[in-house]
Symmetry: C2
Subunit: 380 residues, 2 copies
């Protein structure tokens, strides 16, 4: 028994002057229309989100009502920036157990109704509040440490980091759902203001509002769809929240573990991946992902971007939807966005950013600084 994706929807990411319910409705309706289903055909709604950014509490309950899902079950799943990947994994479990036949998985996040200081106050407390947050370990701070360590160990350069931003903005310019649909130059990235050394403004993704949705179903129903996309491999793992307890700062151990599990379940290796979406919350994170996913050797991530191996036409195109860097990062919606993009690529519906003949797509969604990681492999 395997789970198939039959419907997808993706809203516009960015600053959205709508309620969180309205934000959710856009991709939900699109996903239903995509597969020709109605709310009555769904057995449950699983919402992936980090609820604390919303003024509305009991988010999945309010969203379920607005989407016309009552009396079907719903709940919210949170795993920081990997919340909707966790929701997708849970949907797969319900379907493979035969408990539900068809489920809507919705990633939704309205962050920008809060002010930047409010968002930072919340994000600062993703790190261990008892032992680390007090020392100023915000997200840019954590990833800056990872970047410095990677530079020290492997000679990764500022220019290589900037090349990630340039690539992702290049493809994001072709993605109508991206927050920033514009190209940038390496010069501009390298001259942008410092956020946390060595990471500058263009090394960082942006807070955003956004939502994306998938309709997933059992094998029997999926086979009736025109182009079902199969969830062939799912992996998920954790690592210590505290960097104090990490052995190395130049890798995300949960990503390595999750990838192994996903490859094993799918019966493939990194060389079989045709296109990937990875969690580039900061440029260094994409370089770590290349290595953690086995796309290249340890320490080879900087070289990989520099040599264009992850551009379209390269060995493994990565983040050709623009990545978090260009799409924006509405935390709870990011995993669903990656999954939707993977399905588009495998259906051949990615337009200008299509990777020709893609048969295997991988997504890599990191929660926080790697206290969670979900890696999913999709196949045509």
């Amino acid at each position: 028994m395997r789970t198939g994706v039959i419907g997808i929807g993706h809203g516009k990411f960015g600053r959205r002057e709508v309620t969180v319910q309205e934000l959710a409705f856009e991709p939900f309706r699109e996903a239903l229309e995509d597969c020709g289903l109605h709310q009555k055909d769904l057995d449950a709604l699983i919402v992936g989100s980090s609820p604390e950014y919303h003024r509305q509490r009991s988010l999945s309950g309010v969203v379920a009502e607005y989407l016309g899902m009552n009396p079907k079950p719903t709940f919210l799943v949170e795993a920081a920036c990997a919340s909707s990947s966790a929701a997708l994994a849970i949907a797969d479990a319900y379907i493979r157990a035969g408990i539900y036949d068809t489920v809507a998985v919705l990633g939704v996040q309205k962050m920008l109704e809060l002010s930047t200081p409010e968002i930072l106050a919340l994000m600062g407390r993703v790190g261990d509040v008892q032992w680390e947050s007090g020392f100023g370990t915000t997200f840019p701070g954590y990833y800056a440490m990872f970047a410095h360590r990677h530079m020290h160990e492997y000679g990764t350069t500022r220019e290589q980091l900037a090349a990630v931003a340039v690539k992702n903005h290049h493809y994001g310019a072709k993605n109508p759902n991206a927050m920033f649909q514009k190209e940038i130059t390496a010069e501009k990235a390298l001259a942008s203001r410092m956020v946390a050394s060595p990471l500058r403004l263009y090394d960082c993704c942006a807070n955003a509002d956004g939502a994306a949705c998938m309709i997933v179903t059992n094998e029997e129903t999926a086979k009736k769809a025109e182009t079902p996309i199969w969830m062939a491999g799912l992996g998920s793992a954790t690592a210590p929240m505290s960097v104090l307890r990490r052995e190395k700062l130049s890798e995300i151990p949960s990503a390595i573990d999750a990838a192994k599990e996903a490859y094993k379940m799918a019966g493939i290796g990194p060389k079989d991946v045709d296109v990937a979406d990875v969690h580039d919350c900061f440029t260094i994170a994409e370089i770590l992902a290349y290595e953690d996913l086995g796309f290249c050797e340890k320490g080879g991530g900087g070289r990989m971007i520099e040599e264009g191996e992850t551009h379209i036409g390269g060995r493994i195109p990565v983040n050709v939807d623009g990545g978090l860097k260009s799409k924006g990062h509405p935390v709870g919606a990011t995993g669903a966005s990656m999954a939707v993009e993977a399905v588009k690529q495998l259906r051949g519906e990615a337009g200008e950013r299509q990777v020709d003949g893609a048969e295997v797509a991988l997504m890599h969604n990191v929660g926080g600084i790697g206290q969670y990681c979900f890696v999913n492999i999709f196949r045509r």
Copy 2:
């Protein structure tokens, strides 16, 4: 394939001067010791909680690290006051799918590090922020409306409401984990200060810190346990968050739907239930539960408590662990607490509050004002 509960743990509910990680550790260790397992024997940790009450973000990641669960997967599940029931249902899905063999389900909530005004500000936004919260629809307000309507339709009395509080405090006095281990009189309840007419102080449960944990596993492994308890029926449903969209205020429609589903799966009816834990966030809620679960006819809930049918020795003893009313209501931990109490009853380990020969136990966990409801049936 059915899921079995083999380990249980329950911490002390109330005001706890410990971190949320420490709060989680108490029942987790107890549950592991209860079944003789070690962290390495678990495939995942599923945390049920309403995360917004904690200063720590990314709660399941931080808790997983503290509990020694890395690199095993974890995520948090939120469905308001039914969060850990949702977590339990998800664990059941993973196990019945054969994805995980053994899972720890942890309900944990540290509410009292916030001030009462802060908690009220959060709770007030469980109701629909766009259309209802602005009119002052807090929890006591919602349930007060339900109580007035029930009184109007069925002649339910203040004395009957107070009788629920008296019963639950009577049994809570025998529960060492309860926040309030003391009996109260009907006179005291009826004279307590008004919160939201007709609900007085003793009609309301209290905010609390608390945690409870279950180790659940597949049929094969559970059969090796001394007294495995089986998850025989699970039901879950939703209802509109907005009371504006409810047809009746004298019932919780999601509870009726969830109960039907749970009874059907278990192949039993209400008459077969030997002992139940129901969601008495307010005294009226317990009366609604009697009716919604089919323990009595519509409108008969007041009579049922008055005639002692839900005391030990009565037809269906309800909340003989003290209920939310006496145990306190650490929202994310309440479902897990109910499940642990059900297992204790079925194992014959409930001490002074044991219902002799209990073979079937039911739990009814309402999220919010019924936008979620989970009903689970356990069997020896």
